[in-house]
């Protein structure tokens, strides 16, 4: 995939149009919650520079713009999804400086100088990241809306286990975690899948990790 795939604009246009119609009029969606009461003047913009999928980007943003909205609405990287917009569903998961975070609960202007990786930065058709390929192989999705966040989290989970980060189900926090289904499920609990493809997602992660008999 290119940084700005040609199909995004038309597909996005249709989706945005639909959402805006439902929300009574052409409300700009970058600034978060729909305004209530009389319009207030927009605050001064703040310059921000960061690297997204290896490419340097410079934006001048209303400080209210979340990292998720900067990626989707300003950089046309619509792979990261807006599910709940409150850090509850995980569809917006991206990597910042190598760590997974919810891009909906952070401001873009707080990321000056950071290196960000989105689902678009992992692989491309014909050259998938091993985790992307495993999701295809194991049918780790149905509607696909949560999938970019699930894949970003899956990659991060394996790294976190390697880095010695304990989880609530790790028997001995002072020791190291073993790759069990229970560990993977606990660590993936911040990514909700409304189609409930969970068992296949765990199978995909276990496959990439080379773990056998994970149930």
């Amino acid at each position: 995939m290119n940084d700005e795939p040609a199909f995004t604009l038309s597909r996005r246009g249709a989706l945005v149009g639909g959402a805006a119609a439902a929300a009574a009029g052409a409300v700009p969606i970058d600034a978060g919650a729909a305004p209530t009461g009389p319009a207030q003047p927009a605050p001064p913009t703040v310059p921000v520079r960061f690297t997204v999928n290896g490419k340097a980007r410079a934006l001048d943003l209303d400080p209210r713009v979340t990292l998720l909205d900067a990626l989707r609405e300003h950089l046309n990287l619509t792979g990261s999804k807006k599910g709940c917009d409150h850090g509850q569903c995980g569809a917006c998961t991206v990597m910042v400086e190598g760590k997974r975070i919810n891009s909906c609960l952070t401001l873009a202007v707080m990321h000056d100088g950071d290196a960000i990786t989105t689902i678009e930065g992992l692989g491309r058709p014909g050259d998938l990241h091993p985790m992307q390929a495993a999701f295809v192989k194991h049918d780790g999705f149905q509607c696909g809306y949560c999938t970019p966040g699930q894949i970003m989290s899956s990659i991060a989970v394996l790294q976190e286990i390697k880095d010695g980060v304990p989880s609530y189900v790790t028997a001995d926090v002072a020791g190291s975690a073993t790759l069990t289904g229970e560990e993977l499920r606990e660590r993936m609990s911040g990514n909700i899948c409304r189609c409930a493809a969970y068992s296949n997602i765990i199978a995909a992660i276990a496959d990439v990790a080379g773990a056998k008999d994970v149930a």
Binding site: A33, R64, I101, N102, M110, E186, G190
Partner: protein
């Protein structure tokens, strides 16, 4: 979100001064609680002072043999720190019981202490709530209050404090270090940090306007078996219904128990800790003395007792 202006602070003292000086200003750390509330217009700051990147993200040994945790240390980094996992296991466990992997990578030590209640009426701007809108009333009293507090409540508010981390820090006798807008520093014992609602439920901590948390210190390790047991409506990624932070058989002193999900602060009654020989029933009776339940949350009393029994059994097997 309401419009706001944004600045990156140059030092902790400058950040404190900026928040004290600018009307409607707030600090922003991880942003995982503040931005959530700003999107709902429950928080409407007019200015944000970003306190990331001030070098407050390290964990250092103290002269007293404990550790000093920088205010901006992320929850994941704290839970994964080798010293914390070895010497303060209850803290590591409490941290990883909270939120999700993504949120813990962003959430900070100071922000976690200062996260606001999850009372459903605090979140619903169509409902009266004394904490959100002083004097408007409390929709939770007489409303859906199954998960709300049973200790330290008032006729104006029965909210709980939702932090898991703070409960473990209470069991470990942590101290909060701050810098004031005038540049002076002070230390606040974790026991005195969170406030009970009384007649001013919107005053939630001992901090004054513009006061910034710079670190949390833990005294030298006390040894013992460390357990954090969280009981909730689903087994992962949910706030506590109740929780127990326990340090069993520490090298000096008696066992320690702090409880979450019961009050607007981590609940610890030191007198209850001398009752270990009486088992869970005796400890719970002393710790929960004076509890006032509603018609929905009375179950928390036997739940605490049974969870304590389970914690003691786990400790005995360890």
């Amino acid at each position: 979100m309401k419009p706001f202006t944004y600045e990156r602070a140059a030092s902790p003292a400058a950040a404190a001064a900026a928040v004290a000086r600018t009307p409607g200003a707030k600090f922003v750390a991880g942003g995982t609680n503040l931005l959530d509330l700003m999107k709902l217009q429950i928080e409407t700051p007019r200015h944000l002072v970003d306190v990331n990147r001030l070098g407050l993200d390290t964990i250092e040994p103290t002269a007293e043999g404990g550790i000093r945790i920088g205010a901006l240390v992320r929850n994941t980094a704290l839970a994964a720190d080798a010293r914390v996992r070895r010497d303060y296991g209850v803290l590591s466990r409490a941290l990883v019981s909270g939120a999700s992997g993504q949120l813990r990578n962003k959430a900070t030590t100071a922000g976690n202490l200062l996260q606001r209640t999850r009372c459903p009426y605090f979140y619903d701007t169509n409902q009266p709530c004394n904490k959100r809108q002083p004097g408007s009333g409390c929709a939770a009293i007489g409303g859906f209050n199954r998960n709300l507090a049973i200790l330290g409540t008032s006729k104006d508010c029965i909210a709980t404090h939702p932090s898991d981390m703070a409960v473990a820090m209470r069991a470990l006798d942590a101290t909060v270090e701050t810098v004031m807008p005038n540049g002076q520093t002070r230390r606040i014992a974790i026991a005195d940090f969170h406030r009970l609602p009384g007649s001013t439920p919107w005053v939630e901590t001992a901090l004054v306007a513009g006061e910034m948390i710079t670190a949390v210190t833990l005294p030298a390790p006390v040894g013992g078996t460390h357990i954090y047991r969280k009981v909730r409506d689903r087994s992962s990624y949910a706030f506590a219904t109740i929780s127990v932070a326990a340090v069993l058989r520490p090298t000096n002193g008696t066992a320690r128990f702090a409880f979450g999900g019961l009050a607007h602060k981590p609940w610890r009654v030191e007198a209850a800790e001398t009752r270990v020989d009486g088992g869970a029933k005796a400890i719970a009776a002393a710790a929960l003395a004076g509890a006032q339940t509603t018609d929905q949350n009375g179950f928390k009393i036997p739940l605490v007792e049974r969870t304590l029994a389970s914690v003691l059994a786990e400790g005995a097997a360890a």
